[in-house]
Amino acid sequence: MSNLQWPELIIFTILFALVTVLGFMASRWQRGSTLDHLDEWGLGGRKFGSWITWFLLGGDLYTAYTFVAVPALVFSAGALGLYALPYTIVVYPIVLLPALRMWSVSRVRGYVTPADFVRGRFGSPILALLVAITGIVATMPYIALQLVGLEAVLRTMGINGSGIVGHLPLLVAFVILAFYTYQSGLRAPALIAFVKDILIYIVILVAIIYLPSKLGGWSHIFDAAATKLSAKSPATGKPAGSILLTANNQLQYATLALGSALALFLYPHSLTSVLASRGRNVIKRNMVALPAYSLVLGLLALLGYVAITAGVKPLTNAATGKADGNTIVPVLFDSQFSSWFAGIAFAAIGIGALVPAAIMSIAAANLWTRNIYKEYIRKNATPAEEAKQAKLASLVVKLGAVAVIILIDPQFSIDLQLIGGVLILQTLPAVALALYTRWFHRWGLIAGWIVGIGWGLIMLYGIPNPANGKQHFGGSALSLGNLSLLGWHPFAGSAVQIYVGFVALIGNLVIAAIVTVIARQMKVFNGTDDTEPEDYHTDEHDKNLRPIGVH
């Protein structure tokens, strides 16, 4: 606990206290008739307008971990780390139309989770359960990663203790978060997101103007980074990376960007923010305005190169004894900014961890309540009982995430997050495609899910990482030469890499289609569709809309 950075710590603590007060006050903000209903607690009353939705979605999609990990990837691998930019460019045009349909059908039928929709569309509790479990499993490590981001900041400020003491501040922060989320539901992160984003924008604008001028301009920064990245790594004998893509990782870059974009709105928490909005035009306006964050993210990614030029060395994590690459950006701020401004920057990242963690835990709690508790444990739960159950579940989810960080190596939660992205992508046919067509048979979708998840996991397991000596789960880039179809290697010898999630999704779709054709031939019952074609087009001002938050 030596060399504590007091000015930074004080500013960090003050801003943290401010958002805590906001979090508790949020329960009274834009309140509905009751908080004892999932429409109110879990979706903020389904009435957020363009601005709130913008901050909420932005707070949700651009997390503390993104802000810390993307520059860290650029720092260590170069151009490949910039995939986050095309990913956020293509995501909004791709999801605009499906998100509108999802909003409408959910508004009419009272759906709160993607699994609710699948349940209604196919009349299949099993398929809905698979979607719900995938959502929860993929979200949990995502929450844990917010803690990784928060911890990177805390460690840079000198709170770098070993063992349980080193985790204590993290625990305190999360207990606070857990309680105001419990009390205020989705309104808490919505309100706090304002503070977070204003801080983030200030910090990034300053960083991106001030740092390059201090370090000799962009031209010098890119040249210095190119020199450093092309040096051969002692572990692998190859260059660590380059400032342009190589012949072998171009396909990986494109498929990773596309796969991540497709996965993004399948994550239950991003859907939560979409469903919380007031109407279709709110969502459309947001898909236009959200790329403002893409610019921020792209500029942040470049801080990885700035850090190389500034000669930043990652801190050693006292709890694991290993260098923590995620401390790159905090250390850069710490070394280049005056301490009060570094304090603001750290608060921005720290608060940036709370907003998505709150939304994610609410989304996971909604999934648990609607698709497991109500479906299998207490079929006739009242809306008030549902809300109670979801509040409790949100506590459990957050404690689980803290336990993951404290008990196991944070690196493990990064691996889990990598796996989570591949898993959530496998719900695309059942959730996103089902918004457009019921051509796929429910048993086809179940079979596709099993194959996609299984194959995805097998491929991830087989990827080593020579740079840190790991044998398995070393990354998401599969060499086409290692692609195996039941022992047959169609691209033997090729070193071109591709994103595992993308390959697994193709397998998923092929199997889903084959089983669908077979099931149709055998005239297997395909469940009852609760939704009507016109459900997909309702808007906020339509007559006969379902009332919100009514018991």
């Binding site: 460019i89 045009p93 791709i94 301009g217 305005a289 074609p533 087009h537």
Partner: protein, 92 residues
């Protein structure tokens, strides 16, 4: 299969040709287009500033689609693509 709602409005699958503009930003996935160092802008290699430029292209495309479709939240024409017919006429 009926698309007539009780209030007398007919709503089916709606498709606006403007939606095709949403394909334009996908160009950023074609890496050979921009995976090069020059020409540099403000010292930034082409690879980087091209992708920043594409953020603007993405915004523009999505914005045009929003402007052109916001006034017609629902259409009163029959279902043009008739995707629902693929459902084998499930009992409704």
């Amino acid at each position: 299969m009926s698309t007539v709602k009780h209030d007398g409005k007919v709503r089916g699958f709606q498709f606006s040709p403007w939606n095709l503009l949403l394909i334009v930003p996908l160009l950023v996935l074609v890496t050979p287009l921009f995976n090069m160092d020059g020409p540099r802008l403000f010292g930034m290699p082409f690879f980087y500033w091209f992708q920043f430029l594409m953020v603007g292209v993405g915004v523009l495309s999505t914005w045009i689609v929003y402007l052109m479709t916001r006034e017609k939240p629902t259409v009163d024409a029959p279902d043009k693509l008739s995707v629902e017919d693929l459902d084998e006429g499930d009992a409704r």
